[in-house]
Each structure stands twice: as structure tokens, then as C-alpha cells.
């Protein structure tokens, strides 16, 4: 061991560079720490920018709603609603006729005979739709007036904004040069208000005609049709009874009634219409989009949850090792299929297949078949299900696998078979893990864009729920879809642009909520398995 002491000089003691060394170490640590903070910063920035771009929406939308009232658009829409109701009644008549035709066709009646039998009914129907002629005329007159006023008001508001902008910049001369056009709102409204008188006379005339018409309504040959027709008659009477209320509304309506600020929020959150770039009035109601997203996700989950959970149980409890080694990576592999490819596949194959199936004679008994739209909730739901299955499968399988072996053994030891053990021990023990898997699947589905954009049909309307199960074969639009579709084309800073950011914010909040719930369940799962 000699010589050891002498060689102690081998490593010089750290002396002068100690400070710099420590500083470098600190610097590196700070660098990494800064990077770790990126996640927090990004989350904060997402929130901030969604708010920043979206928040102006409420102010702009309020102005939009105020203009709607001030220009008298609202007034015209009251009358328009009565005209629309009349049209709806007309449509119902043709539906009744269609049913009659179907019934008679089933009895193999020739076409001539059908037409002859329904001749008096057809006469009645056309007389009915004629009664609204004056009403429609009134609506189109007033529409012209109101939109003219709206345009002038809008232009004036623009100029006003321009002027205040100039004044803010200190260019008072230029500001003074801007002349605001005088708008004689009073006379404009007077002429609108004359519409109320006209409406009263028009509706009185129509009411009289309709009561006459109803008295001479022809009978229908088929009892089912007759019943529907009777129903229709009561609806028509109700409609007529409602007309005075509309007149009352018109008389009491004033363009200067204030619109409270919260209307801009409530019209977004509870608005049932999303109408943009319209010549008449834009509406930014999120309900149809929200309903669309929820419906598509529900259908997707209804398909994906049984498949995902069943295959998770199969792989973790039933399958042989060989199968396991094949199935697990394969399902994981499925999760990597790009959503746009799935969407394309939906357009090219699935939509067509769904419609073809609905037309086949095999499904003749289904009341809402054949369907007219190949791209609908169901088509999108099927494809989204394929995206959700891997998520649900992977996480649920994880949860099942983590159930302590002791639980199972205890159950087997009591003479339970495998199915009983699965149903009574393994699944209950991992239930919160499975629930969190399903929630994360939901999060993935509700936030998915390309598949719904390509396959959900993109019709902005709340689906008609009276159709029962047939509802899921209607096209919808979704929150993600609307952002993707309209963001590229809107004017930056416009109400529409901000509305899209608000939709994004709602989507963001929903997914955060789902994520939070999922984490709760994961925590509970960890606790339950010890």
C-alpha cells in the first residue's frame, strides 16, 4: 500500500472554480425547472387566449342583439313566426297525404284511384296554403323595410366608431369631417307600426277564411289518416286562437325597450340557433352544437363501452397468453390510426354502407328507415367508437390487471368459477378504474374533430327528438366541427370569430371537467386496491 499517501495529489481540490461550478449547476437546474414550468404556462396561455379572443364576444353580441331590436327585426320576426307556423301546418297536411298514399299503395290501389280519392283533400290543402298569401306578402314588405333600416343603423354605428377612433388618435379635424347620416327612426317605426294594423286585418281575414275552410273539411278514407287529420284541425284552431296574442305583442313592442346585458350570455348558452353570415340576423346559440357533440359522443360511447370493456375483460382474464400478445399491441396500434383517415373512410365507405343497409328489405320493419342522409350521428358515432375503444381498452385492462391477485384467489378458494369471480370480485374492485377509462374515452371522443367534421353531416340544427331512435340518423354539427369549419373563413375580431373562441372555451371547460372526474376516479381506484 506504499505510495498511496504520495499520490493524494492526483485530484486537485476544487478551489477557485467552486463558485462558477455551483453557478453552472444552479443554472442547469433553473433551465430544467423553467422547462417544467412550460406545461403550466401553456395551460395558462390556452385559458388566457381563449378568453382574450373570446371575451369580446359578449359585448359584440349584445350590440348585435340591440341592433336586432332597434332596427325592428324583432318586430318583423313576430309576424314571420305566425307565417312559419302556418307553413308548418301546411307541411303537416302533405305528410298526412303521404301517409294516405302509402296506406293505399299497400292495398295495391292504382295511382289514378289514389289521386281520385284524395282529390277533395288536395283541394282543401291548396286552399289552406292560399289563405296565408297576404300574410307572406306583409312579411316580405316589412322585411325589406327593417333590413334597410338595419343597414343604415349599422353604417352609422361604423362611422361613429371610426370617428371616436380618430378622436382618440387626436385627429380632431378628420373626426369632425365625418358626418353622421341622420336617420329618421321615428318615421321608420311609424311605417313599421302600420304593419301591426295591417297584420290585424290580415289575420282577421285569414281567421275567417280558415274557419270556413275547416267547416268544409273533406273526410279521409283511412281511419288512421282521419285521426291525424282531426289532430291537425285542433292544431289549426289553436293556431288561430293564438293570433290575437301575436297582435297584442306587436302593439306593445317598442324599439327602445332595453336589452339587459345578460341576454348576450344567455342567448349564447341557451340559444337554440346558430346562424351566421345571414342577411337578416346572426344568432350564436351553442345549444345545437352542444347537443350535436353530446349525441355523437353518446352514440360512440354506447358502442365503444361494451366493446372496450368486454375486450379488456377478455384480454386480462380469459384470453390465452398467445392471444394477449397479439391483441394488446393490435388495439394499441388501432389508436394510432389518424382521425382524418377514419373520417375519410366514413365518407367513402361507412356512410354509404349505413344508408344501403337502411334501404335493404331486411330492415323494412324499422319505422325511420330508409334514411336520407348518409352522414349522420350514427355514422360519426361508429367511427368515433373505434377511436374510443383503444383508450377504454388500454386503461380498463390496466385497472383489471392491477386488481391484487389475492382478491381473485380468495374468490376461487370459495369455489366461485371464473365468470363469478370476474363479475363479483374483479370488476367491482376495478370499477372506478374502468369508470375513469370510460371518462377518458368520452374526453377523447368529445374533443375529436376530423371524424365529426367529415362524417356528422354538418347540419346546424337540434335533431328532432320526436323520432325516437331515428334521431340518431339525423345529421348534426358539433362544437369541434364548427370551429374547424368556420375558423378559416371568419373575419378576425368579428362577433362570429369571437363566438368560435367561446365555443372553444366551452369545449375546453367540458374536457377539463371530464379529466378532473377521471382523475378523481383514478385516485379512488388506487385507494381501493391498496
Amino acid at each position: 500500500m506504499e505510495g498511496l499517501a504520495d499520490s493524494r495529489i492526483l485530484i486537485p481540490a476544487r478551489t477557485k472554480s467552486r463558485r462558477t461550478q455551483a453557478a453552472i449547476e444552479q443554472g442547469i437546474k433553473a433551465f430544467f425547472g423553467g422547462n417544467a414550468l412550460v406545461a403550466v404556462i401553456v395551460l395558462a396561455l390556452i385559458t388566457i387566449f381563449l378568453f382574450r379572443e373570446g371575451f369580446g364576444f359578449f359585448g359584440q353580441n349584445l350590440a348585435n342583439l340591440r341592433l336586432y331590436r332597434q332596427a325592428g327585426l324583432e318586430y318583423v320576426d313576430i309576424i314571420r313566426a305566425t307565417a312559419a307556423q302556418h307553413e308548418a301546418l301546411s307541411r303537416k297536411l302533405s305528410e298526412i297525404r303521404l301517409r294516405q298514399v302509402r296506406v293505399m299503395e299497400k292495398r295495391n290501389a292504382p295511382l289514378d284511384e289514389i289521386n281520385a280519392a284524395l282529390a277533395s283533400f288536395d283541394q282543401f290543402a291548396s286552399a289552406f296554403s292560399d289563405t296565408a298569401e297576404n300574410l307572406h306578402g306583409l312579411v316580405s314588405d316589412l322585411t325589406e323595410q327593417a333590413s334597410g333600416l338595419k343597414e343604415r343603423l349599422f353604417a352609422r354605428a361604423e362611422l361613429l366608431a371610426q370617428r371616436s377612433q380618430l378622436e382618440q388618435n387626436g385627429e380632431h379635424d378628420a373626426a369632425a369631417k365625418i358626418v353622421l347620416p341622420e336617420i329618421d327612426r321615428k318615421s321608420a317605426f311609424d311605417s313599421l307600426h302600420q304593419g301591426a294594423a295591417t297584420f290585424e286585418s290580415v289575420s282577421a281575414e285569414m281567421t275567417a277564411k280558415l274557419y270556413n275552410l275547416l267547416a268544409t273539411a273533406p273526410p279521409l278514407p283511412d281511419p288512421g289518416g282521419q285521426k291525424a287529420f282531426e289532430q291537425w284541425k285542433t292544431q289549426t284552431r289553436e293556431y288561430l286562437a293564438g293570433l290575437p296574442a301575436a297582435s297584442e305583442k306587436l302593439r306593445s313592442w317598442s324599439p327602445d325597450t332595453a336589452i339587459p346585458w345578460y341576454r348576450s350570455i344567455s342567448s349564447f348558452l341557451f340559444g337554440r340557433e346558430w346562424v351566421t353570415a345571414s342577411f337578416w340576423q346572426d344568432w350564436y346559440g351553442i345549444v345545437p352544437l352542444l347537443v350535436g357533440s353530446v349525441m355523437v359522443s353518446l352514440v360512440a360511447l354506447l358502442i365503444a363501452v361494451p366493446l372496450g370493456v368486454a375486450s379488456a375483460i377478455y384480454v386480462s382474464e380469459v384470453a390465452s397468453r398467445h392471444e394477449k400478445r397479439l391483441i394488446k399491441p393490435y388495439i394499441e396500434f388501432i389508436s394510432a390510426i389518424p382521425s382524418v383517415v377514419l373520417g375519410f373512410f366514413g365518407i367513402a365507405v361507412v356512410g354509404q354502407a349505413v344508408r344501403a343497409a337502411s334501404q335493404s328489405s331486411f330492415f323494412k320493419w324499422v319505422s325511420f328507415f330508409p334514411i336520407s342522409e348518409r352522414l349522420n350521428i350514427f355514422t360519426a358515432g361508429c367511427l368515433l367508437a373505434l377511436m374510443a375503444v383503444p383508450t377504454i381498452f388500454t386503461l380498463a385492462e390496466d385497472a383489471l390487471r392491477n386488481v391484487p391477485r389475492g382478491f381473485k384467489e380468495a374468490s376461487y378458494a370459495m369455489g366461485a368459477n371464473r365468470l363469478q369471480t370476474i363479475a363479483r370480485v374483479i370488476v367491482p374492485a376495478s370499477l372506478s378504474g374502468i369508470v375513469s377509462a370510460i371518462l377518458l374515452g368520452l374526453g377523447r371522443v368529445i374533443g375529436e374533430t376530423m371524424v365529426v367534421l367529415l362524417c356528422a353531416g354538418n347540419r346546424i340544427a337540434i335533431p328532432d327528438f320526436t323520432q325516437g331512435l331515428g334521431t340518431i340518423f339525423q345529421p348534426v354539427h358539433t362544437m369541434t366541427g364548427i370551429i374547424a369549419q368556420e375558423m378559416g373563413e371568419v373575419v378576425r375580431g368579428s362577433t362570429h370569430y369571437r363566438a368560435l373562441f367561446m365555443v372553444g372555451l366551452v369545449l375546453f371547460t367540458i374536457t377539463l371537467g371530464i379529466n378532473y372526474l377521471a382523475q378523481k376516479f383514478v385516485a379512488r381506484f388506487r385507494m381501493s386496491i391498496g
Binding site: M1, L4, S7, R8, L10, I11, A13, R14, R18, A22
Partner: protein, 279 residues
Amino acid sequence: MVTVLEMPEITSPITVNQPATAPIPEVERGIIEIESVDFAYGTNKVLHDISLNIPPRSVTAFIGPSGCGKTTLLRCLNRMNDLIDGAGITRGSIKIEGLDINAPHLDVVDLRRRVGMVFQKSNPFPKSIYDNVAYGLRIAGITKRTLIDEAVEKSLRSAALWDEVKDRLHVSGYGLSGGQQQRLCIARALAVEPEIVLMDEPCSALDPIATAKVEELIRQLKEQYTIVIVTHNMQQAGRCSDVTAFFYLGRLIEFDRTTKIFSNPAQRQTEEYITGRFG
């Protein structure tokens, strides 16, 4: 059914081969001075009021039943416990050569270079044998190949491993047997020429021959190094240590010259533990 765990009977008599002139801890000024140290893992206090002075250029053995805090105290000496979240000294101080090692501006890296450590569980790096030993030197900024070669050979010789590995210096350290891996770790610690070497049960995975080699090594090393060794093997403590500290439930029960502890312990607990009548 209740199982009673008993210490195995010690069959051979403990031989203490120390001259009677070994330093008396209470009198000498130690190279390591531990002063009324309390230590806690979070809220779990595991060391209570430990005070002892470890004499320089000698071998100090820590003995005591499992879980009594030997490793914890040992890891305090090169501040290895810094790595454990929430763990730390709650009272008292530890000084090495008069310097408080927990002082805020102390350079931990330098401390650890001067206070080397061999772990209870051998932990060679997944590198070649050569690179394992050279690691500390390279870290310290030594790049000269001849210097490193020399140091590697010397350290491996010191750890009694050279003859076994000299033909395969460049194969992975993972390819060695458990005992060889432990000696590799000793060589690795020696390569940076620390002043103090902490050994946490260095022989727990070794066969008797390798153990003898390591013990021989320890006896030689103490000429230049201060060595602190944790061991469960009473004979080993007796054979190679100069002073011995006996711990029980996180307290220092007795600290004295090994000859004294093994022939005439002052405390009943110490005697019972050493003679295997513990429990």
C-alpha cells in the same frame, strides 16, 4: 403461531486483534465529530441524540440490530440523505476536520469526494469494469490516460480484484459475480482517494475468502484512511475495527474501544447483543 426470531449462536469466540493502545474516543479529538444529532424521515424520527467522535486513521464499526439507524447515520456523514425527500438532521451537528458539513455554503460535491462510500447493495454502473473505476477520476476532470490506467490498476489491486479481472477490464461490470461487484464498488470508491471511506455492510454478499480479502484490505487501508464500517458480523467487527459503536432503536448505547466492548461491555444491552442473547 408466533415465530420467535433468535440471533444465531455465535460459535467461535470473538478474537480482538487490537493493541491495547488504541485511542480512547472520549479523549481524542475525532476526525468526525458527531454532536447530539437527531434525524428524521419526515415525521418519523429514527436517530436520537447521537454523539460520538470517530478517530482518524482507524476503523470504526457500527453495530446493532436491523433497523436501528446505522445506515442512516452513515449516510449523514457524506450527506447522502440529501437525496431523500423530507429527510434530514433536525438537531445537532456533524463536523469533519472541524468543518460543519451541514453548513449552508459547504460544497457537497467536494465533501463526497473526500468521504467515499460503499453501499450495502452493490451498485456497479452499467459500464465496463475499467470505466466503473475510472468514473470518479473522469468526473474530477482527469483526462490523462496514463494516470487513469495507473489509478485503475492500483484501486483494483487494493480491492483484491485485479487478478480476477485484469484480462477483461472492458467487459461490463454487470458480468461479475455479486462478490466481485462489491469489490468493484470498493475499488471505485478508492480510486478517487478519499480521506474517509464509509462502508455499509461491504461483505454481506461475499464468500468467506473474499470477506477475508476485504477485511485484510480494511486493515491495510486504515494506515491512510479513516474507515467507518457497518456490519452485522460480530467477528468481523472484532477482527478489523479499533473502536465500535453499538446502536439500539436509534440511540447510541455504547461507544468504546473494540477490545473493551467485546470483552467487558459497560451496558447489559451491548453484552446481550454481542453474545447473541438479544431480544
